[in-house]
């Protein structure tokens, strides 16, 4: 079995973002970038499948600017076998990402695509579902458990009401929640080894995909700020404030 893992380069989850002065977007120059946390979980899951002998090859794919190579190298250092960079300076929307990934899937013919449920920059939560639709494949979204059966993927999904178990016909696309596993750190020797692993570079034109955006971002603004309130001294004062000042209980 071959597994494809798309990995996105995003502003690190611990960075406090800054909005550009002209409100055109969020500042990314000189900001720490990392692999989208959900994608780390996806990489980890794929490597575990290979370590268990269920998968034979794990391919990490990233789409975007040249420096997305760093994100791919991180995946390779964690244990992925090889990488593919689809390089473009266009800011890709989920539909364009899904179309590019579709082209990569048609080339590589993986049995399973494991990806993040959501990129923490755009918070779109779309790409996996779109990819599954374009391929005409089954989808298992927001999963916290994965087991490979006879030509099926058995998944547990985290839904608003609790959990849902589905059986997906393979090939399939799954999108992962953070609770699926605890991603490993890449060791220094593995980081060194990752430098020698193959990394192929492709262009959207070569894949025949039109990546023109469908949405125009008119502006990006600061959300309304919440003012800090008061500290209360004890429980009695708190309850009094809630009853008589805020009148919410």
């Amino acid at each position: 079995m071959k597994v494809l893992v798309p990995v996105k380069r995003v502003i690190d989850a611990n960075v406090k973002i800054r909005i550009k002065a002209d409100n055109a977007g969020v500042e990314t120059t000189n900001v720490k970038m990392s692999m989208n946390p959900f994608d780390e979980v996806a990489v980890e899951e794929a490597i575990r499948l290979r370590e268990a002998g269920t998968a034979q090859e794990v391919i990490a794919v990233s789409l975007g600017v040249a420096r997305c190579q760093e994100t791919i190298r991180t995946a390779l250092a964690m244990g992925a076998d090889r990488g593919i960079l689809v390089e473009t300076d266009v800011e890709l929307e989920p539909l364009a990402v899904a179309k590019l990934l579709q082209a990569v899937v048609e080339k590589e013919k993986p049995d399973l695509v494991i990806m993040g449920k959501q990129a923490i920059d755009g918070d779109c939560n779309q790409t996996g579902q779109m990819l599954a639709a374009l391929l005409g494949w089954a989808q298992g979204t927001f999963i916290s458990k994965l087991a490979i059966g006879q030509g099926t993927a058995e998944v547990t999904r985290e839904i608003d009401g609790g959990l849902e178990m589905l059986s997906l016909k393979m090939p399939a696309v799954v999108t992962v929640d953070l609770r699926l596993n605890e991603p490993r750190y890449a060791s220094l020797p593995n980081i060194m080894k990752a430098r020698k692993k193959p990394l192929e570079r492709l262009l959207p034109e070569e894949l025949g995909v039109d990546v023109a955006p469908r949405l125009v971002t008119l502006k990006v603004e600061e959300p309304p700020k919440r003012q800090a309130g008061v500290k209360v001294a004890n429980v009695a004062e708190l309850v009094d404030k809630l009853r008589n000042e805020a009148k919410v209980i």
């Binding site: 539909l95 009401g161 708190l238």
Partner: protein
Amino acid sequence: MAVLVVAEHDNTEIKPATLNTVTAAGQIGGELAILVVGHNCRPVAEAAAKIAGVGRVLLADQPHLEHHLAENVAPLVASLARDYSHVLAPATTYGKNVMPRVAADLDVAQISDISGIESADTFIRPIYAGNALAVVQSRDSIKLITVRGTAFDAAPAEGGSAAVESVPDTGDQGLSRFVKQDLSVSERPELTTAHIVISGGRGMGSGENFALLETIADKLGAAVGASRAAVDAGFVPNDYQVGQTGKIVAPDLYIAVGISGAIQHLAGMKDSKVIVAINKDEEAPIFQIADYGLAADLFDVLPELAKELDK
């Protein structure tokens, strides 16, 4: 203009987020239709017909739609979508699962989790865990949208009298199979619609200690929520999680207990009307957004709070 709202339901009842989505649809304007997809779900269609402002109800009632599998629901929605300028669904795990698949079928973008509508083609949506708001304009012929429930009031469930019509089926794709569901059962109000929410974090220490929160929740008629750390530690089930990658809530009163106030948690609750923070660390970031902060040990505070509420 005509707007189609995809209803979320369990084949018996409409989920409240559908009503917020109807309000968003009303702000766009034009004729409003609701699509009910499921099995043995005519009562849902009849309830949908009564929602104020709804002009038509479309019903797709088929055995293979019973479990709302995205592979079967999406082609059905897509088959109807071309008659509409906008297709909306709640930004719940239901809408998030199905709608991008519809968007790909139609070759249009999806605009996720909108919190405001500027015009028929321009929408506001939070990005970066709500630390920025993007105003985006769509160039697509069909605007495919998921709606943040807390940003729109619920439409009145009564007052309409739309006709229910059946729509043609698009078949079973045979790609996935429902195995089972493990749903939380609770007598307490649902997290996203409750007027009061009390949430516990890692500071609760264990699942057993959540009983302290439940006692207070029951006195206040509140729902119980949690931070990701509390869920990841196994204190409570996943459906308790509030935050960027969990549920978005905006109750009249949100009480955060033993929660530090990471941006990913704030993303899910900072639009609450009144926020109370109980944390033993004076410096915890949660105090920066709390209307009322109590810097104390929760194991002292919670029993005392229970007593004080009885007074």
